[in-house]
Amino acid sequence: MFNQIATTLQNLDASHKFYWLIGGVAALLLFASSIGWVLQRRITANPNACEKTQKVVNNLVARVNAWWVMIAVFAVAFLAGKLGTILLFSSISYFALREFITLTPTRSGDHRPLFLAFFFLIPLHYYLIYTEWYALFTILIPIYAFLLMPSIAVLSQDTEHFLERTAKIQWGVMISIYCISHAPALILLEIPNFEGQNALLLFYFMLIVQLSDVLQYVFGNLFGKTKVAPIVSPNKTLEGLIGGGLSTILIGAMMWWITPFTPLQSAGMTAIIVVMGFLGGLVMSAIKRSLGAKDWGNMIEGHGGMLDRMDSVSFAAPIFFHLTRYLFTP
């Protein structure tokens, strides 16, 4: 029985798998939306509802609504194919970098390297993914941008905090462009017996990262007691991490049929994505705080900024990309 379902699922072609996935996610969101709707009605009906509950419910509804938009954008980009995906992720990098640099105290001497980072580096880096120029893709930012951006900045001869400024800009570029771009870079991997299905692997990755965030948030809110890092990120709890992590791993294992992995391998990959995503959330939160902000921005209603949603992606994507490349490509 199980084997039969498994082979049927695995033998679906890529577009059918995609429709099943989108349908599944839409069903999940529909469920979340109806819960939000019921909760909101209950609160409006109850005059003694406390302000905190109201806030949590409103935030929940705003988050779910933002999810509908995100999944719609994602679905459209997917249907538009490789170019659509590349354009989507280059815009994500653009908005993420804009948030990062906004909070970074740059000086007028950084103007030219920053302009080049936004309007030259982002298009070039994503063009390399589009043309599948893997070798240059891996070194463009860690080597060329790393050396050339300070070389341009130094021409304006402003030595005030030069190292800090250079380091912060490089960090912003690494996280917002280089790390995030490893998610769409999954489409350039050549995995045997998985030809033409790489977009599904990207979908799998994004779904797992976001599910892990959502489930950690849900488990944290329901059972959270022990704070993992109260100073860095007061919302992260051990209960949330374990409950959310384990349930994500379970779902990840069940999603094996859209990946080149076996169910067990898929569980392992999900575990790595969960851990890296968690660490990314912590590190980015610490950076945000050291820059003196609570949220990266207010672009996505209920979620904060683009980087608040992409912090786990930026840490999980490069590791997931390279593990898949090392273990599953010849």
């Binding site: 804009r98 007028s108 936004f118 207010n298």
Partner: protein, 205 residues
């Protein structure tokens, strides 16, 4: 008809471009958007200021709010003229001193017509976070039109988006902070009023 469509299209493109580039997120600090006739006065740190403030205003207010711009810059060239006069509906003023005419005259006319204004009381643009001293124009307007509300506005990050000498902007999120209205007090001296108006902008930093 066609002309109207062109203007509408140009307005939407500018709104989109400004949001894509610098966000121009409005934040009303201890205040709420007000449809009454207002003078919005703000710090002047880059070429993007007018566009950012105009974009941040709610739609109905934006339709009535006219940026005040320098004739020697915006009055030259067909494209700049089209943007200034048709798209933004600017009030153009002479920056050069003239013996015969009060340079503020066009602003008086606009206020008499019931329009709101967006003005930069510093007069010139300086790429820095803090506004420099205010010039007298704001005082004369406040004196002549006591019923018009004076709204302080602070534009952050734009001096970093376009530092001195830069031709092209770096995209940084600009938060446009609107404060509560201030008014000219009875017997208040020009200097005191201008200092107080500047303080109101600084308080939003």
């Amino acid at each position: 008809m066609l002309n109207k469509l062109t203007v509408k299209f140009a307005q939407l493109s500018i709104l989109g471009l400004v949001k894509l580039l610098v966000g121009a997120t409005p934040r009303w600090v201890n205040a709420a958007p007000n449809n009454a006739q207002c003078i919005y006065f703000t710090n002047h740190s880059s070429h993007l200021d007018t566009l950012a403030l105009w974009t941040a205003l709610p739609k109905e207010i934006r339709a009535k709010a006219r940026p005040v711009a320098a004739k020697d810059y915006w009055g030259k060239g067909l494209v700049k003229q089209f943007i200034a006069l048709k798209v933004l509906n600017c009030v153009l003023i002479d920056r050069e001193f003239s013996r015969h005419e009060n340079p503020l005259q066009p602003l008086f006319v606009a206020l008499q017509n019931g329009d709101s204004l967006i003005i930069f009381p510093e007069g010139t643009r300086r790429a820095q976070a803090e506004p420099s001293e205010f010039k007298g124009g704001l005082f004369h307007l406040a004196e002549a039109f006591p019923e018009v509300k004076l709204i302080p506005v602070y534009l952050d990050t734009l001096h970093r988006s376009m530092p001195k000498g830069a031709i092209l902007p770096v995209p940084l999120i600009c938060t446009v902070r609107f404060g509560g209205a201030i008014g000219l007090q009875v017997n208040e001296h020009k200097k005191d009023f201008l200092a107080r108006a500047r303080e109101a902008v600084l308080a939003l930093m």
